[in-house]
């Protein structure tokens, strides 16, 4: 499979919609661990992205340009913790997608691995710190391994999303070590990390997208 720039933009639009739906749930998780705004922040950021997609980006065909604009727009609209984290992810992805109007399976693998590594580097968090890295690192590791084993992108991405889900779930049972919730100590146990959750939602949205939009993915 391949993903055109318009496919990439459609995916981002589906993220926009998904975030609106999950907004309250993400806020609820953050209320228990942080300052209760993760859903609001994601919504502000993705609404800004939506605006760009419908305007400046409407005719842009360079997947790199699309991805870097998504990252920067998200960052400028939200700041906060997740702004630099997700923005760095999309900007690292953009390096892979630079000057490409179509992303092939290899590009997409590299894109998402770079995305995950970018977030980790920006936040300096490790697996087990109860952050989105708990979702993203196992996801990226599995994606690389599965691709090397099976060569089939959709199946490999599906494995990776399963690993992401496991990672996300694991945040329930650990004590937070990064971000606002790290001050909670034991009181953070039992609640799933909001960032780990939103990261999982984005990845699983991508899986769903490539499965159901084979028409758009060349």
């Amino acid at each position: 499979m391949e993903l055109t720039s318009s496919g990439l933009k459609d995916f981002f639009k589906e993220v926009v919609e998904m975030i609106e739906k999950e907004k309250d749930y993400l806020c609820e998780l953050d209320r228990k661990l942080g300052d209760g705004d993760h859903g609001v922040t994601m919504s502000i950021g993705w609404q800004a992205v939506n605006n760009k997609l419908n305007n400046e980006l409407a005719d842009i065909e360079d997947c790199g340009k699309v991805s870097i604009t998504v990252g920067k727009t998200f960052l400028n609209a939200v700041g906060s913790s997740v702004g630099p984290l997700y923005a760095t992810g999309f900007m690292r992805g953009a390096k892979i997608a630079k000057n490409k109007t179509v992303l092939n399976e290899r590009d997409l693998t590299e894109y998402w691995v770079a995305f995950a590594k970018g977030v980790k580097e920006r936040g300096q968090a490790e697996v087990g710190d109860k952050t989105m890295v708990d979702t993203l690192e196992p996801f990226a590791n599995t994606l690389e391994v599965s691709i090397n084993n099976s060569q089939e992108f959709e199946a490999a991405f599906s494995d990776a999303v399963k690993a992401a889900e496991k990672g996300m779930n694991s945040t329930k049972d650990i004590i937070s070590k990064k971000g606002r919730s790290s001050r909670l100590g034991d009181r953070s146990i039992g609640v799933q990390d909001p960032g780990a959750t939103s990261a999982y939602f984005i990845l699983s949205k991508f899986l769903h997208f490539i499965k159901s939009n084979s028409a758009k993915t060349v």
């Binding site: 209760g36 609001v40 960052l75 700041g79 909670l184």
Partner: protein, 334 residues
């Protein structure tokens, strides 16, 4: 939750617009970014620029502290969310007068990343020297051994005051940073929350709390504290806060402090002065001298209920910064 707002999505934009229009002699918005505000009067040539910032909802923090004797500019974030690097960079460019710019902000993951990115961009793209000093005054947020993991709360006010004065005295970037860091090293805060605030966009309380409970050591975004306890009298609360602070920083008989009793938003001044009364008693009993006191809403959390106590241990240098006059829209000291 009842707010005097229009569309909750626009609260920060509309607040900033109102603020800039209310005080045109004091503050102006940069054309390049409407979350970038600077002193209406140009920063003096060769003065180190002082840049503050953080999430909105803490008013007077942070935009209220731009003015003579404090900050030269502020980057304004969304509610309880760090500003992005863009407005930080724009303010940096506007207030740099050749002597560099010092960023002052609280120790939050988001702020650390966004201010960090902006500092890199200022250095690489604009060739502006940037120094930083983070507030880590909240004793409740990490053990003593890990002071650099602590978050910044109301004590930021003293750090602004110290750095703002130092810059005004004509000190260079390194000196201003040194004094700001010393102010932070000498400052400890701790708070209690009695009622939550409500994020305008969600209408949800920032934390849950029973009718007869208080949250001890909560953060000023509603982050839970050390423990929930039964609501105590003002005296008992003051005892707890001051004792935890004094267990964390040694202040001996005869030494001087500046005191800040800070309201989180909806706590009346009456209550704050009742708390202050006990703080003063405890310090007096220990022979600690109060050099100057600030009582009121200095760094808030929308309509949150509760208060914090901050002590800054003074030496001659810090005392001079405390005495330095200030003229900001939301804080004036003669």
């Amino acid at each position: 939750m009842k707010k005097l707002v229009n569309n909750p999505v626009n609260v920060v934009e509309e607040m900033v617009e109102g603020y800039v229009r209310a005080h045109p002699d004091y503050i102006k918005q940069l054309q390049s970014n409407d979350r970038a505000l600077v002193n209406a009067r140009e920063t003096k040539e060769n003065k180190v620029g002082i840049l503050i910032g953080g999430g909105s909802g803490h008013e007077p923090g942070f935009l209220g502290y731009v003015g003579e004797g404090m900050a030269d500019g502020v980057a304004v974030g969304n509610i309880f969310a760090s500003p992005s690097p863009d407005p930080i960079l724009e303010v940096t460019k506007a207030i740099d007068k050749g002597a560099g710019v010092v960023y002052l902000y609280g120790n939050y993951a988001g702020d650390v990343m966004n201010f960090g990115m902006a500092a890199e961009m200022a250095d690489l793209e604009e060739d502006i020297k940037v120094g930083m000093a983070l507030a880590t005054d909240d004793v409740a947020s990490a053990p003593k051994e890990e002071k650099d993991k602590r978050r910044g709360i109301a004590g930021e006010f003293f750090i602004y005051k110290a750095a703002g004065a130092a810059a005004d005295f004509g000190y260079d970037l390194e000196e201003v940073v040194r004094i700001a860091k010393k102010a932070n090293q000498n400052t400890r805060s701790m708070g209690v929350g009695t009622s939550p605030c409500y994020l305008p966009q969600t209408g949800e309380p920032s934390f849950e709390i029973g009718d007869n409970e208080m949250e001890i050591g909560l953060g000023h975004h509603g982050e839970p504290g050390i423990e929930k306890g039964p609501l105590e009298t003002a005296d008992k609360i003051a005892d707890r806060l001051v004792n935890d602070i004094l267990a964390d920083i040694e202040i001996t008989k005869g030494e001087e402090v500046a005191v800040l009793v800070n309201g989180l938003g909806s706590t009346p001044k009456m209550d704050l002065y009742i708390v202050y009364r006990r703080v003063e008693q405890i310090l007096s009993e220990r022979g600690i001298k109060i050099y100057r006191s600030y009582v009121g809403d200095y760094i808030t959390s929308l309509e949150m209920g509760g208060c914090s106590v901050t002590l800054m241990k003074l030496d001659k240098e810090l005392t001079d910064t405390i005495d330095h006059p200030v003229n900001c829209p939301m804080f004036v000291q003669k």
